[in-house]
């Protein structure tokens, strides 16, 4: 198989971009990625987006964004897999370059939540679940996570405050990320006093939705421009796996089955074990998802994922750093763009350009994006090539 490298990265700040439209937002990260890659010109554009149709009244982002970026005439399409859209688009970009059909692929994730507010956004988000049998009962993605967390606390007799360890790590790392939505560390005491969102989920168990855009340029090593200035990062493993949309259709809702398969397949392709990873950009849309993702990856026993956050193992200098730039919780969760942000951040780590957030000597990174409660799971393994 042809080797695929990430030649360029770009990202905007995550937050409330009232002043620019979805196409302008996308263009900003595209320009940054192209400059980072020494001006590489893509032949294909894969746009990761989740909800532009209901929230921006705009479908057909592939052609729109390609045109707006001055790339009229290239191959382009939108890739949608709910919260995993960014990871799924990276998978499509990887396949395009690895197959030899495309020399340079641009993967750009973009999401704009702030053009709508309140119940309209909640209704749009609920379409990622089973519309006929979940959303019609008023179930939202946040309520799905709350159902899982309550059952988890019940089955494994976990102390409620134990989940505070995850947002603590995320916020500590977000404090030194200038693009993060929240750049402030929090305390366990603040976590314990936080208002309830959907019991037992409190405010700090839920990542904030926000606008953002991130971009990646993928290519083959031989197509890199002369004098390419960065350490090379290759995509060593790539996997996209599905499970039921509805929690009620699963034999065991507390197992993220697709996440387990996705990690296995990506790691097998890369020839490594999860224990060898230097960092894991996991999908902490809800703190319960962090625990279930760690368990699915085989990094913790069933019912014990919460323990990893208790003794510093997930910190930047721990055995397995996660959410190294704040994760979804502190950097923010820009929907379909989130999976692309995760990959951009992993590239910064592997190039050793992460500044105050650097994981020392990072060589292997895993990034994983979840759509719904791991109904779609995209996992990628990135390796620094020296």
């Amino acid at each position: 198989m042809t080797e695929v490298v990430i030649a360029g990265i770009g990202q905007t700040a995550v937050g409330e971009h009232w002043d620019i439209s979805i196409r302008e937002l996308a263009l900003r990260s595209i320009e940054l990625a192209q400059a980072d890659a020494g001006g590489l010109q893509p032949q294909a554009v894969y746009v990761a987006n989740m909800l532009s149709t209901p929230l921006s009244q705009q479908a057909h982002l592939g052609a729109l964004i390609a045109d707006f970026a001055g790339l009229n005439g290239v191959e382009a399409a939108t890739i949608e897999a709910a919260g995993a859209s960014g990871g799924a688009a990276l998978r499509v970009g990887y396949l395009a370059v690895a197959s030899g059909q495309v020399g340079v692929a641009l993967v750009v994730g973009v999401e704009k939540f702030t053009d709508q507010v309140g119940s309209t956004v909640d209704a749009a988000l609920s379409t990622s679940g089973d519309s006929d049998f979940e959303a019609v009962q008023g179930l939202t993605p946040t309520a799905q996570a709350a159902l899982l967390m309550r059952r988890y606390l019940h089955e494994f007799a976990v102390p409620r405050q134990a989940f505070g360890g995850f947002p603590l790590v995320a916020h500590a790392n977000g404090a030194s990320n200038p693009r993060a939505m929240f750049q402030k560390a929090i305390s366990l005491d603040l976590y314990a006093r936080a208002g309830m969102v959907s019991d037992p989920l409190n405010m700090f168990d839920v990542a904030p939705l926000a606008d953002g855009s991130a971009a990646l340029l993928l290519t083959r090593p031989e197509l890199l421009p002369p004098g390419f200035p960065h350490a090379l990062v290759r995509l060593a493993g790539s996997s996209l796996v599905t499970d039921t949309l509805a929690l009620h259709d699963r034999p065991d809702p507390l197992t993220f089955h697709a996440a387990r398969l996705s990690v296995e397949r990506a790691c097998r392709a890369a020839g490594i074990q999860p224990a060898q990873l230097d960092l894991f950009e996991l999908f902490d849309a809800y703190s319960i998802y962090t625990a279930l993702s760690l368990e699915a990856a085989g990094l913790a026993q069933r019912g014990q994922g919460w323990q990893l956050a208790q003794d510093g193992q997930l910190n930047l200098n721990g055995a397995l750093p996660v959410a190294t730039f704040g994760g979804l919780k502190a950097r923010g969760n820009p929907g379909g763009a989130t999976g692309v942000y995760q990959a951009v951040e992993a590239v910064l780590q592997l190039r050793h350009q992460a500044g105050a957030n650097q994981v020392p000597g990072a060589r292997w990174a895993m990034v994983q994006a979840l759509g719904g409660p791991a109904s779609s799971v995209a996992t990628h393994i990135l390796e620094r090539r020296d």
Binding site: V136, G138, R150, S198, H248, D249, P253
Partner: protein, 138 residues
């Protein structure tokens, strides 16, 4: 308006009609035509009893469009007596504390409304606690 979508689900919404696999006897709700247990065709209709217990539950305060009037509401996963889980709102709790394991039964209630006076009213199943004396008369 989505009238056809809700109309074609009327057996499920009003009668909790699922399917039973003729090959391995697995009970399926919602109906899905291909049995997830054995992979064979499963299109035989099956009437669920509508009884079960609470598997998990939470309260929704920030309701999606169409549900603002009933917020806050409790939504749950119900473990049906016949095996499957189903997602449904809890109702008629009369302020009593619901817990994991609380026995519940299906009732028909209004699920959502599309707003204006010409909007669609969607009815379907919810679940309510079964009074303890009805389960084990003393």
């Amino acid at each position: 308006m989505e009238i056809p979508r809700h109309w074609r689900l009327r057996k499920q919404r009003y009668g909790l009609v699922g399917e039973v696999c003729p090959h391995c006897d697995a009970k399926l709700f919602p109906p899905r035509d291909v049995c997830p247990e054995c992979g064979q065709e499963a299109k035989t209709l099956y009437n669920f009893s509508g009884r079960g217990e609470v598997y998990s539950y939470t309260t929704v305060y920030e309701a999606p469009a169409g549900f603002e009037e009933v917020a806050p509401y409790t939504v749950a996963l119900i473990k049906l007596q016949e095996g499957p889980l189903v997602t449904a709102q809890l109702t008629d709790t009369n302020g009593e504390q619901v817990e994991i394991g609380t026995p519940v039964e299906m009732v028909t209630r209004r699920l959502r409304s599309d707003g204006d006076e010409r909007g669609l009213l969607v009815y379907g199943y919810k679940f309510r606690p079964i009074l303890q004396q009805l389960i084990s008369p003393t």
